[in-house]
Amino acid sequence: MSLSVTLNIYSGRPNPVWTLEDDQAEELMKLLSEGGEPTNLKSSAGLVPLGYRGFHVTSTAASPFGALSLHAHDGIIDPGPTELNLISGKRTVESFLLETAGAAIDKDVKKHINDSLKAKKPMELKDFVAAAAAAVACPLCKAADAPIYNPGIWNTPSVQPFNNCYNYANDQRTNTFAQPGRAHGKPITKLSCSGTQPSAVADGLVPTASFSGTLKPGQGWYVALVIWPNVDYHWYRQDKVGCWSHKPGSTAARNKDNSGNAISDPRTCNRGPYSSFCTFMKTKRGLVIR
């Protein structure tokens, strides 16, 4: 009958896939026909970046069940975009699918999923919509020269380790792990706003109260300076799309904050230990940093 099951759990490794025996496929169909009330609730699978994210069951049109593509997660059965979701509080479909995995998963993975099955609750639709909306709501970008978000040019072995947040905010790949003020003989004096901002000013950056003013071609784009008091500084930049992105040290450039959300305003995003927001600044093409 060839019902194929994929366990969505890994990030770097391929997800485990196995095929149901005929009697298992029949049992699954029975559970699906018995279990569940129509619901507007959604599984949180699309919002969970790591760990158990549910099962995906598929079959082809040639199968006795016809073409099938359903997801089971958080006690929610999602049969596809044209049908209502079903909810089964006992999570019998997920538990059953887990038992069919056999040797496709090891005991530690099985324990992880069993723990997840006991803990997770489905999301209310309004919460799901709010979370999804929060992930994509970007302010208008008023800077004509704002860079396009294109992390691929930064996240390569010859660029990523040698360029930091200051390089990224200024959109300059100097391969020097650039430091504010170093090119102009005014190094950072203290890891505070007052000890760091003057160094950026020496490089030609200009403090500004907000990122709402229009910047015409040649006038640059907006960046933001934040401080982990006495430890480090960090920069964000506003991209053409309106949301902000950053490159934490030698790690990859990205457009998500420490909570995994899009960054609509660096004053309010999750900045981890960079607790002090200093200022917005304007930068532009042609400034010299090193």
Binding site: S11, Q179, G249, T251, N258, P273, Y274
Partner: protein
Amino acid sequence: MEYEVVLDMLSGLPNPTWRLDIAEVDRLQQWLSRLPRNLAPLSTEPPPLGYRGVSIRPVGGSTGVSQIQVFDETVVIDSDVFSDSGRQLEEWLVRTGKPHVTEPLWNAAIKMIRGKVT
């Protein structure tokens, strides 16, 4: 064989690095020989900003190992995954850096290891 330790936690400034002394290398090799394999999926990814773990690189010579990464009870030696129960190896590695990093930075790293990194 010498090992360089990188404390991966900064963004603007370069990450602090230091070399283990001979006694510390012996201790490291003891740690590594005792680590149990970890077959469970990695449950925690380091946050973009803040403490992201410790990496160790052999300097000169050949150990057959190119990189060791330690974060949140998980040790990845090249592509093999091991368990660091209680983050003991991770904290020990950070402690070897005390003479080499600023006090606020070192305190922040220890604090983040002892609390759950979010």
